[in-house]
């Protein structure tokens, strides 16, 4: 009797396990447990864990906080759109708006310093994708996600959008500057 006909014996569950199957199930189960415990383990010893800190917000409230940061710490403007570049002090709260089809403002952070990055969308879903570091985080409207992060190396990074957000999705790109401390 094969897999497309009924089992030959009514009490098929009494057939003893083959050694091949028994060993494989044991090995596979152990591996599954290893993979499972890697996740809590990394929360304890690893340094890359996505923050659980998030708040409900509104586009207006988030824009107001971002605008306040820009007014205080703007150092220059870039491109024809005059996107402000902001250099907030190390350890502070920094805000980044995602909207159709722009990241606003541009941030300039200090190497080796830790910041609290607040992310929120003004409209649809967007994808915060930091390149070439390749850190990718979903950005929702009405949710303010607070991520504590530490840039490790000075340089010019790109932030692109990797959640499809309409016809000009592929034009949504910005920069993030990491500079050496004084």
């Amino acid at each position: 009797m094969s897999a497309i006909s009924s089992p030959a014996s009514r009490v098929w569950w009494k057939q003893p396990l083959d050694r091949v199957e028994g060993m494989w199930i044991a090995i596979a189960f152990v591996w599954c447990m290893v993979m499972f415990f890697m996740m809590p383990y990394w929360h304890v010893v690893g340094k890359q864990n996505l923050s659980n800190e998030a708040y409900r917000t509104t586009p207006e409230a988030f824009t107001a906080k971002t605008q306040a940061m820009v007014d205080k710490f703007k150092v220059r403007e870039e491109t024809d759109l005059k996107v402000p570049v902001v250099r907030p002090p190390a350890g502070s709260d920094v805000y980044l708006i995602a909207r159709l089809w722009q990241w606003w403002p541009m941030l300039e952070l200090e190497e080796g310093k830790t910041y609290r990055l607040h992310l929120a969308s003004m409209d649809w879903l967007h994808g915060f994708s930091l390149q070439p570091e390749n850190i990718n985080i979903e950005v929702h409207p009405n949710y303010e996600h607070v991520i504590t992060l530490t840039p490790t190396k000075a340089g010019t990074y790109s932030i692109i959008c990797n959640e499809y957000c309409g016809i000009n999705h592929h034009t949504m790109a910005s920069r993030l500057y990491v500079v050496k401390g004084n």
């Binding site: 094969s2 396990l17 993979m35 850190i135 985080i137 979903e138 499809y164 999705h169 592929h170 920069r175």
Partner: protein
């Protein structure tokens, strides 16, 4: 109303077809293949656009075509074919009449209507919202309504399937337990009911929102519930194509399951745990706790992964045992060397098994790990993964089954046998390369669903490394090879079914079957034993398969930890 009890027995395979079921299986399979043809043409356009050397479509058309490609392939092709598999696994394998054929037809036409309505909405141009249609990005109401109608039709089909199981049991058309393949189909159908319920919970409010009756759809709620539909529908595919693997192993080799207990328990684990996978898509989202993410993304401690690893061993293991019992018993791999590699049903199934495990399985578990998802989320790695699972795993397995169904179900000869022989290799290996290079490019940060990674004319654009560009070009080349392989399948299938040489059976008639067609129970094995020491080596009945499984495990472990190593080098964040 008279119940149709007319059956025919296929002279070449001995399978018994109920007249009404046969017609429904044919029509569902044909509808699926039409969707595959349409989706395949769209696949060509998508590939030729993302391969930036060609960059064929303008952005509006690219996003439109990508939306339609996803829906026609992931939903319409696969679910139509799965309904055919469900009816086959119930009515044909249990040798019983299909319950309520009229309801089955109503379901079929609802699915057709829904598929057409959804496609019309997309091609109107105002519903380029991708397969996922994430609110608050909105589509035309007909987009959601089409999906809802399709789902209602599929739900009816699931209940016709369950009804057929009841008919088989009541009319005693089989003895003892249902066949393993039918058991796998039950698994698929149970997951399908859960999936469709989730789809209803999210798509009905979204439809009402699109016509202005609901004023707000929360984006996180949408993603959480939508993926209970979107990911679970891929789990229907897993259960269905694993059943098809078992079926092809049984058809080609007469292979019986190594142990009914193990294989059925593995299917049971699917039913219990696969639906938690909605979390795979939410690992990079705010507003959900790590506890929730860890428990759900791992299907409660990887118990569904365990089930897949078990099937990955028992399917080739069953083939190995069958081959060894036939006398191909020397060495570790004689059974595999002497397998019918020129039989497209077998080669499709075997490439599907290997590709699904090595490429789709390993990558899926890796990126479904809470922290590792940070370096993968929404990159082109993700479509790389699911083309390995859904195209190499599901579609290729279904293609293999088609080569078996053309003579027995459609009673036609395969029109181009030489083409059929090569098709699984071209399609399967093309898709393997396609998936691998997508994953490679994704590791380098290339986004999915993106029209132009050169950011032409953008002052702030990102410059991807040369390797990423090379990967995308190789993806294009292998993608085109796979599309040629897909076209070969379609030409051969459509040609054979409509214009192939008819297989005439002298004196063919449909026979009216009485209730209780199964012969009386014949006890076969008094003492229930394992396979015994006559085959294999060192007490291992399938040593070759075990060795392959160990190769798989080592690749899995290495790849998994390489990615942790890579993660440990990115910016610390918490």
């Amino acid at each position: 109303m008279a119940v149709n009890r007319m059956f025919r027995t296929c002279p070449s395979t001995g399978l018994v077809y109920h007249e009404a079921a046969e017609k429904l299986i044919r029509w569902n399979a044909v509808a699926g293949v039409v969707a595959l043809l349409f989706g395949g043409i769209l696949a060509l356009l998508v590939t030729a656009t993302r391969w930036q050397a060609i960059h064929l479509l303008p952005p509006d058309w690219f996003y439109l075509v990508l939306t339609a490609h996803g829906l026609n392939m992931l939903v319409f092709w696969i679910i139509f074919f799965e309904i055919a598999v469900l009816y086959f696994a119930a009515s044909v394998l249990l040798k019983c009449r299909l319950a309520t054929p009229r309801w089955a037809w109503a379901g079929f036409w609802l699915m057709i209507l829904g598929a057409l309505m959804n496609n019309v909405a997309v091609f109107r141009g105002d519903s380029s919202v991708m397969f996922t249609s994430y609110a608050p990005m909105g589509a035309h109401p007909a987009f959601y309504l089409g999906l809802i109608l399709f789902a209602v039709g599929a739900l009816i089909a699931c209940f016709v399937f369950f009804g057929t199981l009841v008919v088989g049991r009541n009319e005693k058309t089989y003895n003892g337990s249902v066949p393993l393949v039918t058991f796998g189909a039950v698994t698929a159908a149970i997951i399908a009911v859960f999936t469709i319920a989730s789809g209803a919970i999210i798509l009905i409010p979204t439809f009402l929102w699109s016509v202005g009756l609901v004023d707000h759809i929360d984006s996180l709620m949408y993603r959480t519930v939508w993926w209970a539909f979107g990911h679970s529908s891929q789990q229907i595919n897993v259960a269905a194509h694993v059943s098809v693997w078992y079926a092809i192993a049984a058809i080609v080799f007469g292979a019986k399951p190594m142990s009914e207990k193990v294989s059925r328990t593995a299917f049971l684990l699917y039913i219990c745990f696969l639906q938690l996978a909605s979390a795979h898509h939410l690992l990079a989202d705010p507003g959900l706790t790590s506890n929730w993410k860890i428990f759900n993304t791992s299907y409660a401690m990887y118990l569904a992964v365990l089930a897949s690893m078990v099937h990955g061993l028992t399917v080739p293991g069953a083939i190995e045992v069958a081959q060894r019992e036939k006398g191909f018993n020397s060495g570790l791999f004689e059974w595999l060397r002497k397998a019918p590699w020129s039989n497209p049903a077998f080669s499709s199934m075997f490439i599907s098994l290997i590709g699904f495990g090595f490429l789709g399985g390993i990558s899926g578990v890796m990126m479904g790990t809470e922290q590792l998802n940070l370096i993968i989320h929404n990159t082109i790695y993700v479509p790389g993964h699911f083309h390995a699972t859904v195209v190499i795993g599901t579609t290729l397995a279904f293609m293999g089954l088609t080569y078996f169904l053309i003579p027995t179900l459609f009673r036609r000869e395969v029109m181009f046998p030489a083409m059929a022989k090569w098709q699984p290799y071209l399609f399967g290996l093309g898709m393997c390369g396609f998936s691998l290079f997508m994953m490679g490019a994704g590791t380098l940060g290339v986004p999915r669903r993106h029209w132009d990674i050169s950011f032409a004319g953008n002052a702030l654009g990102h410059e991807f490394p040369g390797t990423a560009w090379l990967m995308m070009a190789l993806m294009g080349i292998f993608g085109l090879a796979a599309i040629v392989g897909g076209a070969m399948y379609l030409i051969n299938t459509v040609g054979s079914v409509f214009f192939g040489k008819k297989i005439e059976t002298p004196g063919f008639v449909h026979v009216k079957a009485k209730d209780g067609a199964a012969p009386p129970w014949q006890p076969v094995a008094v003492a229930i034993t394992g396979h015994g020491p006559s085959i294999g080596t060192a007490g291992f009945v399938a040593p070759g398969t075990f060795l392959l499984a160990m190769v798989f495990l080592i690749s899995f472990v290495l790849y998994y930890f390489v990615n942790w190593k890579y993660l440990s080098t990115v910016w610390p964040l918490s």
